[in-house]
Subunit: 284 residues, 2 copies
């Protein structure tokens, strides 16, 4: 069961407040980006990777680049001065929007981006998730095709919300797999997905939809002592269902093996174990 | 030239404030809907149609239905008590979100929707737009396909923002036409589009993308003294470019004829004139 994150400490543009203007384009249109970052002992993990992704997103959305050192300083002040002082692990969420604007879509001149840094309680995931694997389901809601926005962790997230609302028993089912409108497997509602088949490590391509996760990138660029090839390509549901091993990834969970999808059971196999351990070491 | 809407009067959940919690899912994920309504002499025009669309959107997004009379009362209090008292024409924007939530996509139990009502200055459009027509351009940014969300006026509007940022000289070019990823004509960045060809009035279908505008609906359901048929269907750019007449619609502009698209000039033709006048009468 996930612990409810009731304790939140928030900085908006450097101030300890927890509101934004209704004129903020993040609120008006979802005009911005976000990052969700694991924090251990006051250190935001994979900070460089998260900031690089945020910057890439800014370039695609034509947002001014964030001041990286300012974000880092503000993150530290949340851990050190806020209510999270002395807490080992927490979650840092950064929301970065285009700032305040007028009624319409047109960009106003000289707007200043809004930066929101939030510190959340670390979610209490069952240890079994990482060791024994999780049960996942297939979502009915499909991801649309949108090459303009594909890969970005932007604030337009209605698709994930609708898909995540399909099931409530989070204790049993930890994630839902989303297909795109053509029936290809893309990702989970809050995670990327990998599977192993015949010594090939496969994850779906994200050219048309999906979010390019930081852990996904890390897995694809890390060297392993494994005799496997990597593939990023189209994946259909039949192929996915017949995998030898399946696992999901995100910045908070790291790697979770999948033990059951639909009526099929999967082992926590050697490739999943090896990659999981390698990623764990990098995150320490 | 559009007048900058600097004067804004705002009610958030019935209070004259202009901020929302950063925890609001409208800000976190664009988890909500909006309506933009023309107001004349303290009367929100096509109120029933706007509320019906908002309610349909709520059903699609599984949001609690809004209290219509509460929204109406609050709208009136904005016109009668706020800074807009005594002003003949203004724009009412209603934003309706899922309310405050936690960090993730999962819906929290017992959340209360957030309702934001904003009164904006009426934009000063040139009279010539309605009489002589406007120049429009073709946007490079394409609309993705997303049947789950198609038609809704939801808060995930990055596509329109990116498309609207393609050009700045609003004085010359009043609107940009957006194609979908398959090259079909869909709509303008802030309007729906109609064209006339061989006594047929045609507007693109919105099953895969686009916003179903209130004026679009009104035009399609109104009887005219015209010997024309209506079609809602796929439209390719070649067909659109060869139209006898083109016009665009939204709740603020009503109907604007198109006088130029790319290198082609179009007349303000008899069908456009007749429909424009009919809609004007309904809006009085």
């Amino acid at each position: 069961m996930t612990q409810q994150s009731t304790l939140i400490s928030t900085l908006v543009n450097g101030e300890f407040i927890d509101s934004v203007s209704v004129k903020d384009r993040g609120f008006q249109f979802g005009d911005g980006l976000f990052e969700t970052i694991a924090v251990a002992n006051n250190k935001p993990l994979l900070w460089d990777q998260h900031i690089q992704r945020l910057k890439k997103g800014c370039e695609r959305l034509k947002l001014p680049l964030p001041d990286e050192s300012q974000l880092h300083d503000e993150a530290l002040s949340l851990f050190e001065e806020g209510e999270f002082k002395g807490i080992d692990k927490c979650v840092l969420k950064i929301i970065y929007t285009r700032g305040e604007g007028g009624r319409g879509y047109q960009l106003a001149k000289n707007t200043q981006p809004t930066r929101v840094l939030q510190c959340h309680v670390w979610p209490v995931y069952p240890d079994a998730n990482k060791v024994n694997g999780i049960q996942i389901r297939l979502c009915e809601s499909r991801l649309g095709h949108n090459p303009l926005l594909a890969g970005l962790k932007h604030l337009n997230r209605l698709e994930q919300i609708i898909a995540r609302a399909e099931w409530q028993n989070y204790d049993d089912i930890s994630e839902g797999i989303m297909l795109d409108i053509e029936g290809h497997v893309i990702e989970g509602t809050m995670s990327n997905v990998f599977f192993v088949q015949d010594n090939e490590l496969i994850t779906p391509g994200l050219e048309k939809c999906g979010i390019n996760g930081v852990i996904r990138d890390l897995i694809l660029t890390t060297q392993y002592d494994l005799n496997i090839t990597h593939s990023v390509r189209n994946v259909d549901l039949q192929e996915f269902s017949c995998a030898d091993e399946i696992f999901i990834t995100n910045s908070l969970i790291g790697v979770w093996p999948v033990s059951q999808f639909k009526d099929v059971s999967y082992p926590v196999g050697p490739v999943t174990k090896h990659i999981s351990q390698t990623i764990e070491k990098i995150l320490q």
